[in-house]
Structure formats: structure tokens, C-alpha cells
Amino acid sequence: MPKTLFEKIWDQHVVTTLGDGTSLLYIDRQLVHEVTSPQAFEGLRLTGRKVRRPELTFATMDHNVPTEDRFNIKDPISKAQIEALTKNCKEFGVTLYDLKSEHQGIVHIIGPELGLTLPGLTIVCGDSHTSTHGAFGTFALGIGTSEVEHVLATQCLPQKKPKTFKVEFTGLLSPAVTAKDLILKLIGLIGTAGATGYVLEYCGEAIRALSMEARMTMCNMSIEAGARAGMVAPDETTFQYIASSNRPFAPKGKDFEKAVQLWKTLPSDPDAKFDREMTIDASKIAPQVTWGTSPGMVTDVTNRVPEPDKVPGYSRKDVEHALEYMGLRPGMPVTEIKVDTVFIGSCTNARIEDLRTAAKYFKGRRVASSVRAMIVPGSQQVKKQAEAEGLHEIFKAAGCEWRESGCSMCLAMNPDQLKPGERCASTSNRNFEGRQGKGGRTHLVSPEMAAGAAITGHFVDMRTWK
């Protein structure tokens, strides 16, 4: 029977079926960070259990990490959480990329860098943006702390098989329109619960043309559509990415050749059946900007802030509430929204290509005097590469702050926070109330759009940038 990419990976990982539509699924990698793991390790201690496969478990610290003086964590509770991870990794034999490591970074950025993320695997992490790894043709899902403990103890997870949802993007993207705009557009169309219960597979000409890093951006925000995971079939772009750079855990030489033969069997069979299918013309997609407090509250940069009764999927009351929080009035052109802060970073958009793109716009220009712009590389490797290319000098000359790697203002668990009422153009993934700081107002955009907003102080249709 023809199978989808997801079904092939699923079938290869079923340890046993549990009889009620649930299977016990084998997990090839667990990635761990400091926020969602302490209670899981404590659970193991209380029950006297061990980590079953410590060599398949990898940890780093990213959420709490200061991006200025990273070895001087002033918040004692943050510090205690980071120390707890160090202690837990030591006690249970888990590899840790700590603040001193050249591989430290946002967990979803270092997985691919290290070659831990490979096609055909199952990957979990106590973090909803684990969907990022699906860009490699990996079944990667975010889990809660109880499940983190479950995988630590058993290397397995009981799972009900999700349904499959194919989204085909036909045509090619316009210049200055990116993977971020593709995924925001999709979320706007189907809503933030539109893919709940499904695994999304992105395909079509526009997806084939995307780089690996852009595919990661795409898959990263699958969770914002409610999906269990997002996936892209592996192809030459994938294989080249894995073979490039020094990825310590990736196969090399004969192992690599053997692996590629295996990976080539993964793409969905031509006549495979999906539970749901949708086609979107990528060539017609404009740069996207969110205007509300849910990622589905999004529109084209050329549009206006909507009237409260004209937003599909949201009640009048929800929209009124969102607009009040955001301090926006209906009918206002999106390009007239002025920002105070620009954040370029997060597991969505803090890889080297994102920084190169931003640098292209900042080169020879200045950040608007009313704007504070912060650039936070996703990992120490990204930081090192950017500095080798001189990007940090471009950012600094433009008046941007150049920081150390971490999650930073995406969720503002560290000191990088918005003040009440501050408005931010952010390359992150969530525009929830208070996400970037209590009372802060977030507009989700691509790195292109963020750079344009930093330079001009408002949103610009980057297709028209000169």
C-alpha cells in the first residue's frame, strides 16, 4: 500500500500496538533544555529509574540564558534552573552543551548543526517548537514534562496515530517573500487550531526551492497551526546540508552514502493518500504581518488592520479585545504601524541565512532613531559564523545590539523583555499577550520585514525596497 512520509517513519518506529488505536513509538533522540526537564529528572529520582539511552539524549541551556553577560546570571531562580540541568546531566550521564560549549544555542538550532537531526528519525523535546526538525523529513514533536520523563525512562512514547494533512505550495515565491510568510499565510488561512490532530507535510515547487534553513522556519511554526508536527520530504538540498560543515553526529563517507540510499526511500509515494489536502499559490503570497494576539491574526503588509466583524475564525469580541491590547484601530494601513523595538532571533529565524538577509538591508544604513534593534544569533556556531563574515560589524555600525545566543526576547524569560505598551517587530513565533514582556505588543514578521521596520520605524512592503 502506498504510504506518506509520515506513515513510513511511524511504521518503522512502532515497538508494539497497545490495542486502542495507540502505539508504543520508539524515540531516536530526545533533546532537553533547562525549563521543562527538572521535574522529569526529579521524577526519575523519586521512582529510582534511570535514563534508558543516555547516548540518545542531548541537553543544552537556552531559555533562561542572558544574552549580554551570560556567565553572570543575576536572577537566582534562573541560575538555579541552569545549575539543576548541569547536575541532572552529570548524574544521569546525558551529554550537555552548556554555556561554555561552542555548541550551546537554542535547542532546535543546535540539533541540525550537530547532525543530530537526520531524515527518518523520531525526535522529541519538551518544547512545542520541536516541529522545526521536521524540515529534514523527521517526525519531531513537542511534548510535556511528564512525557519527557517517560522518554528518559523508556525511550518510548505511547502515541495515538495522528492524521495526515498535505499542503502543496505551487509556483515560486516573489523576491523578499520568505518561508516565514508561507507559514504565516497558511496559519491565517486554516487558523491556529486548523491542523490540530494532524501531521502537516509541506510540498510543491515553492518548498523544493527553499533552503534547509528556510524549511526549518516553515516547520517550526507548524505548532502555531495546531499540528502535531510539520514535515518536508528529504531531497538533494537535505543531503547537501547534512554533508556540509562539520556535523559531529552526521554520517560520513560510506555511512553517508548508505544513509542517503535509505533516506531516498522516505518521500511520500506518488499515490499515497492524505486525510486532508490543500493547495496554495505561493507566487501570490505577500509579506505577512500579524496585527493581533494570535498567530492566525495576520494579514498582507499591503492591507489594513481589519474591522472586528471581518476576521474569519475569530469572534468580534476576540478581535476587539486583541486590537485594544495591540493599541490599533481598524482601517489603519499596516505600513503606518510604528514600532519601538525590533527583535531578530528565536528558533524560527536566528540561523545564519536569517542574519545574512538582515545584514543585506542594514549594510550602509542606520536603525531609525526611535527604534531599538536587537540581533540574537540562535547558537554559538551561528554567532561565530556571522562574526567570521563580518555581519556583526554591519549590525553594530547600523546601531543594532549584537548579542550572545539564546531564546531571548522570543519568550522573555531572560532580561530581554518589552516594557508595557512597547511595540515590537519580531522574527519569533508567538504574538500572545505578554509573550515578550507584560503589556508588550508583538508583530510577527520575516527577517526582511524586521530589518525594513528597524530602518524606517514602520512596516514596509519589502518587495518594493530599493
Partner: protein, 212 residues
Amino acid sequence: MEPFKTHRGLIATLDRANVDTDQIIPKQFLKSIARTGFGESLFFDWRYLTDGKPNPEFVLNQMRFKGASILVARNNFGCGSSREHAVWAIHQYGFQAIIAPWQENGESRIPAFADIFKNNCSKNALLTIELSAPEVEEIFLMTDRYAGLEATINLDEQRVTLHLAEEISFHFEIDAAIKARLIHGLDDIGSTLNHEKEIDSFELHHNPQLYK
């Protein structure tokens, strides 16, 4: 885990769609390494004013909902971050169950709860109940009309009953595995470890592609 069989309690309604886990428990409370102490911070930004006093506008601060143990919400409850702290906060505040509506979407249904959140609830004896939109609307209406309205949830019979002069009952569907786990208060990890021999033999031939 404590078994969940039946529960009778006061209903509280929260009339907002897409309540995300950042609202349920904001980031500053995720720094704890303990599994307890989250109830006081539930809905922190909505519940407290900047001076730390309770916000009288927020529904859970109103007298009529004091001591509520059944939360009735709108669609896509618990979306966003995977933080299980959100479930711990709701449970530790005193809620035993959450009711929310699924939505019609052509021939399929959009579930009432976000996926990871629902999974997390099932590991913490917090029951999530999905009803149709008109049924949830009726509970909102009745809770508004009759102060102190209580409901009984019978998990075995998959039924919610509103204690009105004339009782109203709603049947709900629930995943068989989750139902069994809640009713028997099963240790999920223990259940998987019962399959240890199968995991051992699976590992003999399975290659997790680790090249170092």
C-alpha cells in the same frame, strides 16, 4: 496519579477563545524546578493588577466563582507552548475538569483543546471534556442565569450533568486509553515498562542512526 471517577463541583466560565499557555502561566513562573506551587500564579497577568492586588474584573476573582472546580472555556484552549506548568497551575488552583467546544469544519471536527495541552492534562488527572458548541453555549447561559450552578461529571458513563431544577445531561466522547488511565490512575511509565521485553527486542534491530 489519583484516579478520576466522578466529580461534583461549582462551574466557572471563561469566555475567551484560544487561551494560550502563556496566559495560563506566564514565563516567570517556569523557572521553578518543583512540580508544585503553581496554583497561585494561574492566569497571573489577567488575575492580578500591577500592584499585586486581585483584578476585580477577572472572572475567577468574582465571588460567584470562588471555589469552582470545573472550568468551562472556549475553543482551542491551551494552545501554544508545551509547558506542563499550565496544567499543574490549573489543577493546583483546584480545577478537576475543563469543558470546551469542538468546532465543525466541513466533515471533520476541530478539537476543543490544543494537542500537547490535552496530552499533558491526561498525565495529571485533569479531565478534558469536549462538547459541541451549542452544548457549551448552553452551559455558559445556565451558569450566567443560575448563580452557584454545579455539575457532576461521571467519567465511566462519559456524562456531564448540570444540577438545575430540571437536570440537563450531556454525553461526551473520550479516547479509550485516556479514560482507562484516568479511571485507574495508572502510572503511565510503569505501563510502558510492562513492555520492556518488546522494547529490548526492538532495539536489537533498530538503528537510531547515531554516527558518533
